[in-house]
């Protein structure tokens, strides 16, 4: 009988990238194999689940593989912009193909990570 634990890592990744980030994270407690797949997830869409800054920090810190696509919404609260540069630095070591950053502030901070394999889509969203 086939059990899902036996699925190869590349297939676990195909399953996990289709889940909201929170569900994908929760799958890491299922078994060691699922935990490894979570830490090597190839697409990180932080807009698919509510994630605070601490969550983004934790995900990026524990991630141990390369990442193809990242989607991040940066929210300015109480006039404080989170340290986007730290996130971008962490991601810059990960063979990134696309990074989509959106900001809820009228001005976009100068996040720098233009590279051969990286396409940054920068746009600012008007403050509501």
């Amino acid at each position: 009988m086939a059990i899902v634990s036996d699925l190869p890592p590349e297939v676990l990744d195909l399953i996990l990238v289709r889940l909201p980030l929170r569900d994908a994270a929760r799958s890491s407690v299922l078994s060691v194999a699922w935990g490894q797949s979570w830490r090597q997830l190839s697409d990180l869409d932080f807009t698919s689940s509510p994630c605070d800054r601490a969550a983004i920090d934790a995900v990026l810190l524990s991630h141990s593989g390369s990442v193809r696509h990242v989607r991040l919404e940066v929210t300015v609260t109480d006039g404080h912009l989170p340290n986007v540069q730290t996130w971008v630095d962490a991601l810059s070591k990960k063979m990134l193909q696309s990074l989509k950053l959106s900001f809820n502030a009228p001005s976009v901070p100068s996040v720098l990570m233009e590279g051969q394999d990286t396409e940054i889509i920068r746009h600012s969203v008007q403050k509501q």
């Binding site: 059990i3 634990s5 297939v11 889940l19 299922l30 078994s31």
Partner: protein, 186 residues
Amino acid sequence: MEVDKGKGEAEETRKVAEADRDTVTLKSSDGKLFEVSKEAAARLSTVLAGMIAGGSIDDNGTDLKQIGSEALENVVDYCNKHANSIPSAALISSSISFNTAPFKEPEEWERKFVDRLSHDALFDLVEAANFLGMERLLDVTCHKISEMMKGKSPDQIREVFNIKNDYTKEELEEIRQELAWAFYDD
């Protein structure tokens, strides 16, 4: 196909041989034979495309020792259905774009195709699709599995998918702390 009168036997044989080449015969690990559209097999499976191009297809049944008859029947069924289906405009235009979705949504008939499968059959089909390099079938089956996981607790998922928890208690506690944001309302 109607054969023109007055043509020789050799011509008839040649036409039959030509017709034969529209399909390939695949043999499961338990020795059952399945016919599949050659065009669809080559289009949907990188491994079968390679075998067809490389001439390593056996007319008496190409051995696929890693795939059982139930999974192979589903693979063949999927290929033949695909050969007969008209791709929707959505499928044709859905180039991979992270702005919309990083993967293609299954077609209606593809959803129905995987919905009728038992869990075991579904997982066997995922493994077969992976082995044969069938990107589209992998998309469809993995989409189904992710749908089955959404909103379930880890315990429920382990039960449904028969996943053995091989963590120590300490390791589990460590992960839960690290991922507190994903577990805070449990």
